[in-house]
Amino acid sequence: MTIETDPNRTRTDAELAEEALVPMPLVRGELPRWAPWAILVASLVVVGVILGVTSGFSIPLTLVLGAVLFAVATFVISRVVEGGRKATDRLVTIVVTVAFLLALVPLVSVLVTVIQNGVARFDGAFFSNSMRGVVGEGGGGYHAIIGTLIITALAAVISIPVGILTAIYLVEYGARSRLARAITFFVDVMTGIPSIVAGLFAFAFFALFLGPGIRFGFGGAVALSILMIPVVVRSTEEMLKIVPNELREAAFALGTPKWRTILKVVIPTSIAGIASGVTLAIARVIGETAPLLIIAGLTTGVNLNPFSGRMTTLPVFAYNSYAAPGVPREPFIDRAWTSALVLILLVLVLNLLARLVAKLFAPKTR
């Protein structure tokens, strides 16, 4: 008897449970996949038509108002169909995406403008002529390119050894000593030095020894080093820190002295990151204008000696051509844009180089 009734009873329990579940669905309504796109197109069309009927139709205005309507419509529809949480999620997705697109507009505009305006004078003459004796048309930025290369190279020669050695001290020797903490703090402070202050320092320093009104290339290199050293220290420090301690301990266990461990084990392991960090640091300072305007000055001819005489660099050349053009105005403006284009290309090449270097120097894992 009991054996017979038990299955009966369980069956009815299951049925009851099933009945109880019916009015409570496990999933809520969900908008179909095409819904967001449909709402987007619909809101753009609505805004476009309204603008076309009432006042002037313009693409930017349509896009802005369309995006607002799209966000509101999606939120309302989703709230009705899917509930509040999903609706908030959709709203935030739209806001984030729109913010991204909005941020893209000026950045793309910068690149397009520079390329459009810079291409006019992106010719052989720009790379082979200086501005000596040039009044209107013609001329070029050869002297500025040479100046930029010399000053940046000098800055790199000063900053790279100092920066890498400091990072080695911080990671390998200093470890939490008072000196190391002080250095870390002041490197952070240095990161925040405005570039023009670095230029003023170089000027104040050299003016004290070499007289007021001093302008020369090496001073520019010193100013750039002040901006570059902290970048090199920080990136190298990060790279040295991620070298596993086991590698160092293995080397010590084999009886290797510390300096050889650093040179032969730690540095080769992290050389990829260090090299790419250094390249990026060079890319940072190669476009600096303000300090060079102050200490390196401006000239029209080629100057190969960084220790005497003014030296033009590309950013200063671009600034001066635009801010103080001669007559006629057009050739000067064209040269300014071409200098900007060359600068962007230099930065681009250095960035690609950093990638390549990181890949080439990466330690072989097998």
Partner: protein
């Protein structure tokens, strides 16, 4: 092992009981070089401060008649400080929310394959020289912003910020602020992105597994974790905006006034821009005045950066970003 007790113990083991590590000449030289480099940085920084102060003292000592414009040094630098802070704050207000959104888009919304490319583009844009942004600001943004500024004046003219009249050239404080925002946007994005990427995957997956939507996951797992990163990115951007020279110098034709009116043709200049504009033609005590203003800028950025570091350190234990 067991048998030969007759063999003598290995000779060198016994005498070297010294626990001091062996110091080679190479070791000492290398350590000395590394320490020296570190100390050199401290010396240089002390030098920056010392030389700036030394060259600035004549400006503070000089009487008002000797200074450019015949004004007191405080009256000369005051409006410049105001202009510097105003432009930087506008830039920060625009760039921080946008930068965080862009970073979120790259890390959590964009398709995986696109995201890496976008991250690279942002890094690249952070390295674009400021003079390029300045040229863009004056040649493209200023004319393009004219109708918008007219609209602001028409509808929001009752606010002191948009009282107008609108500058005919578009070279206004608002345009400078937007240009600076464009300039620091990649920096804020890059820093925030780094931190967002470091959010523990397990936290995110746990939130999603509990049924959180993507936004709830970001609000509960990603943003609390990345808060210090956002703050330090914003402060880094602020520092850059404060010290930015060329963009301001090329866009604004500043005068020594203090006004909150962002869209008129008379604007306060910034410290850095003023130095860049005046320095090439200055001699004598005018140079000292400019160096004194540079010293003030140095102190301001120092305060901002210290504040950022303090905030980051205070929150460091709560986030995993250390």
């Amino acid at each position: 092992m067991s048998a030969p007790t007759t063999t003598p113990p290995p000779a060198p083991a016994a005498p070297t009981t010294s626990t001091k590590p062996v110091q080679q000449a190479g070791d000492r030289i290398f350590k000395g070089a590394a320490t020296g480099a570190g100390v050199l940085i401290l010396v240089v920084l002390a030098g920056v401060a010392a030389f700036l102060v030394a060259q600035a003292i004549p400006a503070f000592a000089a009487s008002a008649e000797q200074l450019p414009g015949g004004k007191n040094i405080v009256a000369y630098i005051g409006p410049l400080i105001f202009g510097t802070l105003l432009s930087a704050v506008i830039a920060l207000l625009i760039a921080t929310p946008l930068g965080v959104c862009v970073a979120l888009f790259i890390t959590h919304y964009a398709p995986r394959r696109v995201a890496q490319g976008l991250g690279y583009v942002v890094d690249l844009l952070a390295a674009v020289p400021s003079i390029v942004y300045g040229l863009w600001g004056v040649a493209v943004l200023a004319p393009a912003a004219l109708p918008f500024m007219g609209w602001l004046e028409r509808w929001f003219g009752w606010l002191p910020f948009f009282a107008g009249p609108v500058s005919a050239t578009g070279r206004t404080m608002l345009v400078v602020g937007v240009t600076l925002a464009v300039m620091i946007l990649p920096i804020i994005t890059a820093v925030s992105r780094e931190v967002f990427l470091q959010t523990p995957k397990l936290h995110e997956e746990a939130a999603l597994a509990l049924g959180a939507t993507r936004w709830e996951m970001i609000r509960m797992a990603v943003l609390p974790f990345g808060r210090s990163g956002i703050v330090s990115g914003a402060m880094l951007g602020l520092g850059r905006a404060l010290g930015e020279t060329m963009a301001v110098a090329i866009i604004l034709s500043g005068s020594g006034i203090v006004t909150f009116n962002l869209i008129s043709s008379s604007n306060p200049s910034s410290i850095a821009a003023n130095i860049a504009l005046q320095f090439p033609d200055s001699t004598g005590v005018a140079v000292n005045v400019l160096i004194a203003s540079g010293l003030v800028l140095f102190v301001i950025t120092l305060l901002v950066n210290s504040l950022a570091r303090y905030i980051v350190n205070r929150r460091a234990e709560f986030s995993g970003a250390n």
